[in-house]
Symmetry: D2
Amino acid sequence: MQSIGVGLIGTGYMGKCHALAWNAVAPTFGDVTRRPRLVHLAEVNADLAAQKAGEFGFEKSTGHWRDVVADPEVDIVSITTPNAFHAEMAIAAMDAGKHVWCEKPMATSMADADAMLAAARRSERVTALGYNYIQNPAMRHMKALVDQGAIGAVNHIRIEMDEDFMADAKAPFGWKSEAGSGHGALDDFGVHPLSLLTVFFGRVARVVADLAKPYPSRQTADGTSRAVETADIANILFRLEDGVSGVLQLNRSAWGRKGRIAVQIFGSEGTIAFDQERMNELQIFEARGPVANQGFRTILTGPVHPPYARFVAAPGHGLGFNDLKVIEAREILKRVAGEPAHIIDFETGHSIERTVAAMARSFETGGWTDVGSS
Amino acid sequence: MQSIGVGLIGTGYMGKCHALAWNAVAPTFGDVTRRPRLVHLAEVNADLAAQKAGEFGFEKSTGHWRDVVADPEVDIVSITTPNAFHAEMAIAAMDAGKHVWCEKPMATSMADADAMLAAARRSERVTALGYNYIQNPAMRHMKALVDQGAIGAVNHIRIEMDEDFMADAKAPFGWKSEAGSGHGALDDFGVHPLSLLTVFFGRVARVVADLAKPYPSRQTADGTSRAVETADIANILFRLEDGVSGVLQLNRSAWGRKGRIAVQIFGSEGTIAFDQERMNELQIFEARGPVANQGFRTILTGPVHPPYARFVAAPGHGLGFNDLKVIEAREILKRVAGEPAHIIDFETGHSIERTVAAMARSFETGGWTDVGSS
Amino acid sequence: MQSIGVGLIGTGYMGKCHALAWNAVAPTFGDVTRRPRLVHLAEVNADLAAQKAGEFGFEKSTGHWRDVVADPEVDIVSITTPNAFHAEMAIAAMDAGKHVWCEKPMATSMADADAMLAAARRSERVTALGYNYIQNPAMRHMKALVDQGAIGAVNHIRIEMDEDFMADAKAPFGWKSEAGSGHGALDDFGVHPLSLLTVFFGRVARVVADLAKPYPSRQTADGTSRAVETADIANILFRLEDGVSGVLQLNRSAWGRKGRIAVQIFGSEGTIAFDQERMNELQIFEARGPVANQGFRTILTGPVHPPYARFVAAPGHGLGFNDLKVIEAREILKRVAGEPAHIIDFETGHSIERTVAAMARSFETGGWTDVGSS
Amino acid sequence: MQSIGVGLIGTGYMGKCHALAWNAVAPTFGDVTRRPRLVHLAEVNADLAAQKAGEFGFEKSTGHWRDVVADPEVDIVSITTPNAFHAEMAIAAMDAGKHVWCEKPMATSMADADAMLAAARRSERVTALGYNYIQNPAMRHMKALVDQGAIGAVNHIRIEMDEDFMADAKAPFGWKSEAGSGHGALDDFGVHPLSLLTVFFGRVARVVADLAKPYPSRQTADGTSRAVETADIANILFRLEDGVSGVLQLNRSAWGRKGRIAVQIFGSEGTIAFDQERMNELQIFEARGPVANQGFRTILTGPVHPPYARFVAAPGHGLGFNDLKVIEAREILKRVAGEPAHIIDFETGHSIERTVAAMARSFETGGWTDVGSS
């Protein structure tokens, strides 16, 4: 079997997640035409890089990310560093002729996103952003059901994304409360629901947003209080380009919510609901048959929901979060092989960034704001 | 035991609900100081009035509602007619010296609501609007928990209210699609979440609203198509007077939702969630104790949640929708007896109507709108 | 409208429940041909009897239950006293020509149950036992679905009934731990699942039972320890007369369970599940249509599930525990009027008692035991 | 880093699952002292063996399993062939000085299980059976909670295990309906709940069982009907050695259940519930604090529940079924390294087999049966 050389920059949470995916994709799918060969790993600390290369199974390691980008044995580069570094690394990799798999969001400024899109357009390489939630077999089945007309014409969409890592009022002031980190929940979380919306239902045309700070100030290490500069809560009313209305609710200070992405899709003949905290379940109400027997049906994913069968032969046994990244890796390999693939490339990713920017503008101006186009 | 004379105008869904409550309140609570005596019932059709009087246990019946208002044996009048009649009847009853229990919403215009409030202010009688959801022991316990600080300081509120009686795209054009019926989901549903908000968390200060029509037109009886004039979907971002942010989502075309009023209250130390479709349950997450053991706790209501014990001696056995009306009747009798009572009178009801009006204005003007004061 | 004279013996939990039902049945159903007239109430304490008569709306009260049985204005007697008194009172009432509505279980001994059955057979009056769970519209719909073949041929049944009123190990020794009160969970709870089984699926033929004591002894008031004589846990494997297998699990020391009656019915084409703690929901899995779309469907009861519409006009708004008693009262009035009715009379009730007795024998003998016939 | 040579026999569902685990265990855990080296893979078809070796990443492949057992570079052998082959292969591997990781159940006869236990006792190698459900962080946390006294003294246990792969009455007669395959649900499923029971609560002392055939006969390929020889349903009442009572319910023809292992643990101060279909959740009721606030708490697993953090850094993001096998592999590597490990070895596995055998005897003899000891 032919191989494809993989480089990895960053070995934190997402770096490990990419490493696991690169290890698992061939055994899981079997039909991968070029087997990933884990060639080169970069981490700012060279010792840590060496240790992680050993753990993850990479052949070489370095303390300089440009070594990975320059390595002729590397065909595709996984970029999993803090968001502020994405642009420089992704552009360098593309310009060096590498395919790029970059974690989301694209960048921390529209200028960077613009530059990344420009580099992608001049490159002939594959680009992909790490929006793994769209890879969930349950999500894909949701899309299939909508396309089959199971709920008729979609007329309304609600998405909530909630976690609680900023919920502790007594937690000290940290970088996520600094303006430099972005707007807060809006961009930290917003891009995920937008990835679902964009891929499954179309682009957002108009928005009105409210950003709120549950804790206006936080304690600093030296015992003083510092004003919080980001909004841990963001709510957005929106309209898609085809007029469909929706609501986006983002809260990273929502006590008790750990990985909630609760989606409700309303249609002329039914409703679909999903919650990422129960990622192997999908709920559908179909307004068909005797009224006395209608109700929300909980579908447990199984081998009939591709590509679940590649992981487990029995239904209802459950995929995990990391499995979504394996599917994503498979999709990227498809795209590299010139096959149709289900990924969010820099082109689509850029439209997501633009939508977030429009939401931020809306809050500043206090009214409905057009998203515009690239 | 002394009695209190009851008159009832209207014998539809809510008329029956009031009749059941008036029959049940004394046996259920036992400690009612004045036992309701079902004196006089009015329905436009005199024959139907007579029949319903027999079924409900009223002594007299009439085809003219003014007979009830004029009856000296009647102390309190239940008004359960279509909303457009509320103002005339309630004002007449108050001016005749009767206490008034009027179904929600107050009126179909702010002018009518203003007139009702004026009549209530000049009357010394008890006024109450039929916002029975606030009577649920689960709702009351939610309030008690918040007041005890179980979730710390409230910083965000989400309420969804969804049913599906307008969801069928093929259903013919009806009066609920006519502009004369109001704005649609906004006033049809909005007043319920607002009753919870107002009573439990305070008044709404500013709003921005989006109203949407899932079906722009519907078939008429003669086979032609008619443009729908009301919006079956309404979404509102709001701020309370104390700055707390929130989202209201209203959808009367939400297939599969039958009586959903899903509330999420986020606080600095926890979260509370409730759904009226499971009206005997309350969920609370408290950020206390070992993290490994934290989670949302489902509290089943029972005798420890007043006034559940008046209905059933065992916990988890469940109250029903009609029981809420019995509790409401008990609260009104308390107020009549000069005791503290948990009801929404015309004063508070008027502020709810005003908030709805501000939401409607926001949609017309396309931006944030102040609610103002009475 | 004609009336039917009602007598009530006992004013505790179930006495009040009957009183509420007698008050509500005519307003709720409307089509009752003979309106209940609350004639005579008995309670051992005459003062309490008078007070409760005032609260419940009875015309007369007495400290002697035989006054009620002897009252010529009384047509039907509600018996809600402790179980040990059922036999004497019910037999006296039947022999006095009254219809009898007796709370479950029939009696505390098979001899008493035998005598009650004999009295019922020689009487021409209606007898009914207070098995209200079978009146739940969700339960009735479950039966309708089974009869329509929605889940094919039933081949297995599981029922769990759990509460926690005996769960506190530190609670003092009480009468429910005395042998005189019966076997424990076996008869205290077992009769409820057996009422569902018997009415919906047929009679039990063979059983093997295990009774267990979670707390072998309890503290008494004087600080000593006393051996517990009843079993708070009972588990039974059974076969119905047609060979269908099943399991019954009863636990009155099940912390956190408040009113759980969890039913699972397995069939050749589907499965139905129900839990009384969510009494307005029914779950069904039908093995039909594309496998990818199959799942358990949660049906919320509504007006299409008789007689829900008599209580509330909108679906999903929820009935409560007390409403089941109102339906039961309606069924009894039907039977009194000579119409087909859905009740458990003394004939069927006796077979339930016999089944419990066989379970107790099984535990003593340690093996499978035949139930036998009356 | 040192390596450990891995051999794999069988490449079906479980073979792939082992292969994925061997690939993932080092990148996931990082602290593995000997990195698995995938040396030799056997599959009856040599071509398929070669293909799977390529997919899974094994260096060598063969059509003869004894090649794997004889390979000096192999230190540990994964056995994932049909159950009837386990004994011969495992004994050969142990006798060749290899560690053995054998899928469950041990064997298809007590004689085989006895021989395997004897071989394990004479070998000094590590043995492990593939009972991966015990590796779930949620299960481990359940055990920790019980050990910490969160629910007091355990007094009752219920476990249901249900799937629906035998539920289709129209499916043709297959090998799972032949007596040669075992008793049916009893051994096919029973060993899983018994693995949980044995590891977490102790050994079973006495049982009484009922086996049932939902479909007495099935169609064969030639259109005739053949009597089913195995029981797709099995129910068992049991007592642990310390007297704790319990119920085991097994149904492999339970329509709609896909991977249900529903556990309920009742204690003197609380209750714990778990369902494998929602494998990232655990429910606990603690009888502490104000009664009004008590309820079942749903704990979502997260980094605080070891070894969840090795997979994902954020809580509530979810592990999948395959991740349990990775944890199992890690535990085996610990045992190989001489460290304490959480696995079911052949000694414990044998006691599980013996318990199943006692259940089968109980059904034949119709009464309570002692499990006995090895």
